[in-house]
Subunit: 215 residues, 2 copies
Amino acid sequence: MNIAKNSAKRLGVAKPIATEYDRRREELVGAAAMVFKEKGFAATTVDDIGRRAKMDRATVYYYFRGKKELFREMVNEATSENVHMAERAASLDQPAREKLRELIEGLLQSYVKHYPYLYVYVQEDMLRLSKDGSAWGKQMIALNHRFDHAVFKIVQEGLKTGDFSSSDRDPKLIAAGIIGMCNWTHRWFDPKGQVSSTELARVFSDLVLNGLLLR
Amino acid sequence: MNIAKNSAKRLGVAKPIATEYDRRREELVGAAAMVFKEKGFAATTVDDIGRRAKMDRATVYYYFRGKKELFREMVNEATSENVHMAERAASLDQPAREKLRELIEGLLQSYVKHYPYLYVYVQEDMLRLSKDGSAWGKQMIALNHRFDHAVFKIVQEGLKTGDFSSSDRDPKLIAAGIIGMCNWTHRWFDPKGQVSSTELARVFSDLVLNGLLLR
């Protein structure tokens, strides 16, 4: 978030009207996301994105240096918003079970809200894309790490406080399992389908909290 | 499997010795798999694969028509073996809970046995790659469908027989969650790391069967 936006909010001032330039950039980001989702980042060309946005190649290059910049623009805000959600869930004043429910629901809702931006990011292997040594890459790796750590902290806390049954459970493996279950939805979950993200979050939370076996 | 191999097995005849040609092809498949895993299929070039296998471009093209054929060669056997494992687990004469344990362990072991072939396949989005209308693509879609169906059948059976607590649970969503948990390991699980596939399978099975909450 930039400072101008923040102070506008604080002062109750209306958001500045988006310029034609901003609108065109937004349109291009939206078009790029759809093509990335269908073809994958590596196979997508600037021509593909132009065709989808009904702009020619030169126009695309007027707004963005290339598909990499489009991709980054697309994931920046969504990713950091998502990390804040996870850290908020982890620091709630509630038992671990509630924190976990909150986080799973928050994550699935985030995928829907930022559809298909965050899913494209998941699909493209965030860590591989971030390993280019750029400042952006480092920031993304740090955000990913913070997200994983928030999930880990909730599981670890539940095992420690006795909210979760412990024995010899490894919180890292459990956290990886839960994250995997949610992230894999990028392959099959359709936000416009019959199942809502709230309903799916309930199924996943019940599964990892209560298990399948009769109690 | 081809008929010659089958009858050799039945007759107790030794496997035919691999020719230099077969060996070179295998080497190339192995090299391609490593590069696909690191860079992704779309970003990988035949030159990359040649460099990794220490062969020049022309030599690669002597053995394979291109990276697509290398990819297919890589996943064919592993994928169908994996489907047979899942269908075997689903038809065991045991309660659903045992079938599910068997399937989760079988799948994770399969990822290790065929490392990194199956992981590359998972990473590259099997369904997207198979949608090229080719006979190979259709066969892969059918295999994927059979795998998913085996998991679905186990969950559905458990809910029906009362081995799993049912209420209003949707077996499709539960199956998708379990498959996601396992498939996501392609992003983080290192078969040469400290955790074995057996240990990981135990953690995942305990998680989905017993849940995290104290009983």
